[in-house]
């Protein structure tokens, strides 16, 4: 069951009155109908609901991967919903880590290189420091010995753990996870969720995850059910 919300925790991510339409012409659908939401540092929030209710669309808007048709998004108190593509890209690099249902690792690169990829873009660390941090993160997710393996040489669970390490690489304030365990068996699902929440909590990061899995949702600090493009609770 979800833990009580820590009222004093800092708001890392906030949105108000988000609207989003998808499709064109007669196929145009009002997917989000004025969604408001906030995620606090050190807490794990699950967005649940039936397929097509707008969970993932909300997540992509919160992650600045998409632009809303109405409403506002603040990342660490900075209004980002109307900012330029370049500013949103920079914010993603610095403040947001993603974990997707499909790990989306770069197949031609090793696990270590994949984890270093966001760090290379941010460019705050030296090559040696990046390698050290990537190795440390891989060790944290239990893949310390497999850093030099190509993504294709890892199992599904291992690849998703690399994706978790990659999401944490730049120490972002917000971790957004879209069905991070949706493609894994029960054992690996638990393992990946535990990793994600433990590491995020240790670093005081806000975690927002979309899931269909009630067991996973029940272990989060807060559950926000969605239906027909709106939060129902």
């Amino acid at each position: 069951m979800s833990a009580p919300i820590q009222a004093g925790a800092k708001v890392a991510l906030r949105c108000e009155g988000l609207h989003r339409y998808l499709g064109q012409g007669e196929g145009r659908v009002h997917v989000l109908r004025g969604v408001s939401f906030e995620a606090r540092s050190g807490q794990v929030t699950a967005i649940v609901g039936p397929s097509g209710c707008g969970k993932s669309t909300t997540l992509y808007l919160l992650g600045l991967l998409d632009q809303p048709d109405g409403g506002s998004i603040w990342i660490r108190d900075q209004l980002m919903s109307n900012s330029s593509d370049l500013d949103r890209t920079a914010a993603r690099c610095e403040h947001i880590g993603f974990v997707f249902q499909f790990h989306f690792l770069m197949q031609e690169f090793s696990a270590l290189d994949n984890v270093m990829m966001p760090m290379r873009k941010l460019g705050r660390l030296t090559e040696e420091a990046m390698v050290a941090r990537a190795q440390s993160l891989l060790k944290d997710v239990g893949l310390g010995e497999k850093g030099h393996r190509l993504a294709t040489q890892l199992s599904g669970g291992e690849q998703q753990r690399v994706a978790v390490a990659r999401a944490l690489a730049n120490q972002p304030a917000i971790i957004l996870a879209d069905e991070p365990t949706g493609n894994l068996d029960v054992k690996n699902s638990g393992l990946v969720f535990d990793l994600l929440t433990r590491l995020a909590k240790e670093n005081g990061q806000a975690v927002v995850l979309v899931t269909h899995n009630p067991d996973i949702a029940n272990r989060c600090d807060e559950i926000r059910p969605m239906r027909d493009g709106e939060f129902v609770k």
């Binding site: 993932s56 669309t57 992509y60 992650g63 991967l65 998409d66 593509d85 370049l86 890209t89 920079a90 993603r92 690099c93 610095e94 993603f98 997707f100 249902q101 499909f102 989306f104 690792l105 770069m106 197949q107 031609e108 690169f109 990829m117 966001p118 290379r120 873009k121 941010l122 990659r166 730049n170 879209d178 069905e179």
Partner: protein, 420 residues
């Protein structure tokens, strides 16, 4: 190494076979571009060397006859209002030959670019050996002057007599190889030359070969004084042949000389315009033909990169989600094109240089406008530069379009599409 380049290097192996085919196309395109340009310009340069070695860089002949207008313009008093009447070149009239060659030669030597001047007296004769007779043209020269303005020394082949014999023999002649063969004359033989009613006997001092059959079958070199006597041209000259330090400046020098010396003056470029244009047309035609190989490789490259963009949409989306900008994505694909371009160009240079060297050793017998026994090639850095620029334009154009497409991809759309 930049991250974008690092990613591009890994993406390079995504479609190995088609990428290798594109690369091979660029190598062959660049290589054959270089080879064809080396050959066409090689033969052109050889032709130019031949014509400079026979007829010189500039030839000054008939005196320009001043027209009434020109005389009026020339007759103005100092201080009076000056005006100039230019007469259309095609409407000009000329007085045949050079009236005072010594004065003209002295004036010519004052031009900075002039390396040598040779006065020539020319006339038609009948050459008669014991075997047969043939029409020919006598060129009366001062040997030392003429050696400066031509390649006559090199044109006298080993075993075909010597210029020293000619120099020391007043009745000696230098005979073109084709004419010597026709008259069945060898070095040391004597024969007669008949000009009008005058008939004299001469001895073959040497046989020369310019490789230009039109010259070798008619031209006979005599000492200037001997030619004047035979042709009864005691004064003046038929033309003055000029050698230049910088042959490429011949057209400008010719214009200046004509203005100053008031004699018809023709540069080698003007004299041989039709042949030079033929070489230029051949060169451009070869470049265009071979460029199609590069163009087709570019199309292959475009296709390969477009396929990589389609195959790598997920990777592009994840890179964008990690904070890689549209410009970063674009640069990754530009790098892909650049890597193939660099490898292809360097490979093409190697292939081009190797084949050019091989071709230069291939035997081929050419006689007519020049004489060559092997393929002529020209080693010119510009062939490599132009091939590289052509490949760069084609390959980078082929890379830019998929790169822009990749940059335009919306990460949200891709991830949403993959997740559904």
């Amino acid at each position: 190494m930049s991250t974008n380049l690092r990613i591009a290097l890994r993406f390079l192996t995504a479609r190995k076979r088609s990428m290798l085919m594109s690369l091979a196309g660029i190598i062959f395109g660049v290589g054959f571009f270089i080879v064809t340009q080396a050959q066409t310009s090689g033969f052109e340069q050889f032709f130019i060397r031949t014509i400079l070695g026979t007829n010189g860089a500039i030839r000054i002949e008939d005196k320009i006859q001043d027209t009434i207008f020109a005389m009026a313009a020339a007759g103005h008093d100092a201080g009076a209002s000056k005006f100039e009447v230019r007469v259309d070149r095609s409407a000009r009239k000329y007085i045949e030959g050079v009236e005072d060659p010594a004065l003209l030669a002295e004036a010519l030597r004052k031009f900075r670019n002039v390396a040598g001047v040779s006065t020539v007296v020319e006339g038609s004769v009948i050459a008669d050996s014991s075997f047969k007779n043939d029409s020919a043209k006598v060129y009366g020269i001062n040997l030392d002057d003429h050696l400066v303005v031509s390649d006559l020394a090199a044109q006298v082949q080993r075993g075909s007599g010597s210029l020293e014999d000619f120099r020391s023999t007043p009745q000696g002649v230098l005979l073109g190889k084709v004419l010597a063969d026709r008259l069945q004359l060898v070095v040391g033989d004597s024969f007669t030359l008949q000009a009008g009613t005058e008939q004299r006997r001469y001895r073959v001092s040497a046989i020369y070969s310019t490789g230009v059959s039109d010259i070798d079958k008619v031209r006979i070199y005599l000492h200037l004084g001997e030619a004047r006597s035979l042709l009864k041209k005691t004064a003046g000259a038929s033309f003055i042949q000029v050698a230049l330090f910088d042959r490429d400046r011949a057209p400008q020098d010719a214009v200046q000389m004509e203005e100053v010396l008031r004699h018809s003056t023709k540069s080698w470029q003007e004299r041989e315009e039709s042949w030079l244009q033929a070489f230029k047309a051949l060169q451009i035609s070869a470049a265009l033909t071979v460029s199609t190989i590069i163009l087709i490789s570019g199309l292959g490259m475009f296709n390969t990169l477009a396929m990589i963009v389609i195959e790598k949409t997920k990777e592009i989306a994840i890179l964008r989600s990690m904070g890689y900008t549209r410009r970063d994505i674009s640069r990754i694909f530009i790098w892909l094109g650049a890597i193939v371009l660099v490898i292809g160009t360097i490979g093409g240079w190697g292939l081009g240089a190797g084949v050019t060297y091989g071709v230069s050793k291939m035997p081929i017998r050419i006689r007519g406008i020049f004489s060559a026994d092997s393929f002529q090639v020209s080693w010119n850095i510009w062939h490599y530069v132009v091939a590289t620029v052509t490949a760069a334009v084609v390959v980078m154009t082929a890379a830019v379009i998929p790169a822009r497409r990749a940059a335009r991809l919306e990460p949200g759309d891709i991830i949403r599409g993959t997740s559904q």
